[in-house]
Subunit: 207 residues, 4 copies
Amino acid sequence: VTSSHERGGLPANRVEALSDGVFAIAMTVIVLNIQIPEGGTESELVAKLGALAPKFFAYVTSFLMLGVLWIGHHFQFHYIRRTDRNLLWFNLLFLLAITFLPFATGVLANYNRSPSAVLVYGGNLMVAGTSLLGHWIYATTGHRLVSPDVSREAIASIRNRVAGGLVVYGSATLAGLFDTRVSLAMFVLMPILYLIPTRVDRAVAKR
Amino acid sequence: VTSSHERGGLPANRVEALSDGVFAIAMTVIVLNIQIPEGGTESELVAKLGALAPKFFAYVTSFLMLGVLWIGHHFQFHYIRRTDRNLLWFNLLFLLAITFLPFATGVLANYNRSPSAVLVYGGNLMVAGTSLLGHWIYATTGHRLVSPDVSREAIASIRNRVAGGLVVYGSATLAGLFDTRVSLAMFVLMPILYLIPTRVDRAVAKR
Amino acid sequence: VTSSHERGGLPANRVEALSDGVFAIAMTVIVLNIQIPEGGTESELVAKLGALAPKFFAYVTSFLMLGVLWIGHHFQFHYIRRTDRNLLWFNLLFLLAITFLPFATGVLANYNRSPSAVLVYGGNLMVAGTSLLGHWIYATTGHRLVSPDVSREAIASIRNRVAGGLVVYGSATLAGLFDTRVSLAMFVLMPILYLIPTRVDRAVAKR
Amino acid sequence: VTSSHERGGLPANRVEALSDGVFAIAMTVIVLNIQIPEGGTESELVAKLGALAPKFFAYVTSFLMLGVLWIGHHFQFHYIRRTDRNLLWFNLLFLLAITFLPFATGVLANYNRSPSAVLVYGGNLMVAGTSLLGHWIYATTGHRLVSPDVSREAIASIRNRVAGGLVVYGSATLAGLFDTRVSLAMFVLMPILYLIPTRVDRAVAKR
């Protein structure tokens, strides 16, 4: 790994460390919103666990969503080697959205038929997606903070993947005005779609 | 350390960072489920601490279990130098199980004579073990993401250790259908067994 | 990156890791103080979210404040390559203030018209700023823990930026004795001012 | 930095990362045990903050104690370059004690005149100190996991510092049987004593 010092700018490793920390905590904290049943008989436990089903569902969905966003962030920093103050703030705005997701998840779990809850959750994801997109566009415009040998194809491929996510978040939020079940389905399907490797993956594998 | 960039693929350091963060939080958060006694006389404190005994027991057990799983993960990444999207998702599935363990621990502490609680806890560990096993098999099949000079012996040794854990988790869960005390004993003994070094340790020491 | 071992002293990477961890947790934990509405009708949700407005406001403000402090810490460690026991304690005092911010934020959110709440919040920031300033002065006096080729200009520029923040924190706290709204406005405006790059940024970019 | 791979054994960086994460969380989580006052008049806020004084006191004390232990851990890993399964378990036992400290701190804050609370807190610190001492003795006996050029003086100096802490923890716990105020004073004074640099610091600076 070439030291960022040789090229100027702040090294990227601390932004990565802060971001990994925030993701790790957000992923773990969603579960803390599921209250542990307080004791009782076998059948009471089964009933209580059953009643928590919407919370389990929301937790797994949000965990996978955080996974998609973390992978997107990870791919970007595979190429971004230097940072500056502006990029740090794009990243902080992104992390602001990540820290809010446990709250939005709790709201969606408790009000899963409410358009406002879908708006809170989808809006949260849209802030995350928009700042991640801005982060990439800022870093790559004129190869500002990436190595000059990063291909236009790789840049476009990562950009399109984030932008595609934004379209899903926006559509799911809009769908919530009509039927929140459509929104929930879209939130669940989205990470599954993002399992599929694309040109980004081939570019990274070659590099 | 040879840079992963020279061989293509995403570097492994961020997966390690995210995973270490999730483990660190899960380990610390189990204790948060033990409510701090709210004040009173000396003898009240002693009584309250005594009443918390099952929770202390569950906390220490789960901490050690997390220790076993973290060491297993650590050994794998001693050899895995590159990652790809598929491996990241194997890892995320593993972390999903890790983040859930504080909840499962709380359930087991509050219902330690209930087969369903053992099923929640053992099932959680089985998801963790299965994804860790899949993670290793995916990474090492055809030396996909490990260096070509990693011996078949080292690969088999790590695989068997994870598979052995899975057998323990499964047996303990099954035993819970008959007597949950047998399950608890197995959950406690398992980390003690895993203190013993095996061929993996010798392979790592030589490398 | 030149190893700190070659120059003596403890390497800086672990102080960075501990600090990034504390920041990541503090950033995520502020949100946990906002209680998730417990279920009900659509209009109840809207009303409850509206009632939480001061808490959302305090959360975003404190997150951005943590962002400013983290960036300040990050810039310092761009130059600090070695640490010693004294520097570790300056850093720990700084982190003590960071860990307290979620509490101070909660107090300010619940008592936003109270001078005492402003004093708690502003005093907390003043401890953070003072220890960060002491941290830098200690590290750079006689180039104690920075490379000899770090220019006096870069040293002064980082020092003035931290000192400027301290002046804002102090003024905002004082203003709270007369009108807490002035304090709140200053706390919100401060991160926006710190978006603007200065000589520090140019020095770092060149390096 | 010489790669640990060249000498065999697991690299130390992940143990450091896990440990820094656990410390960061433990440091931040102690504050979460202090309940944020729920709103009211200016004088109510002052009264409530006053009533929280023992909790603030316990939080600052435990934070500094965690600082002492983290610095001790940090100094050890300045020399330890390789790990093995045994060392990982010494470290995990140490971390088990660290994760428990927020609970023990809460108990001490709520029962500061109770010998049992002092026993919980002091006992917790003794487990931490004992495992940290065992960790160092295991790593350095026959220069097992440290470089052969580490001087006997440096080894003894770090060992004595940890052992000295153990003596303080033990004495403070015993003193609690007679007067818990003596114990509290010793817990508070201990970190202040450990601010003073000794031979360890000179050894590290030279290296």
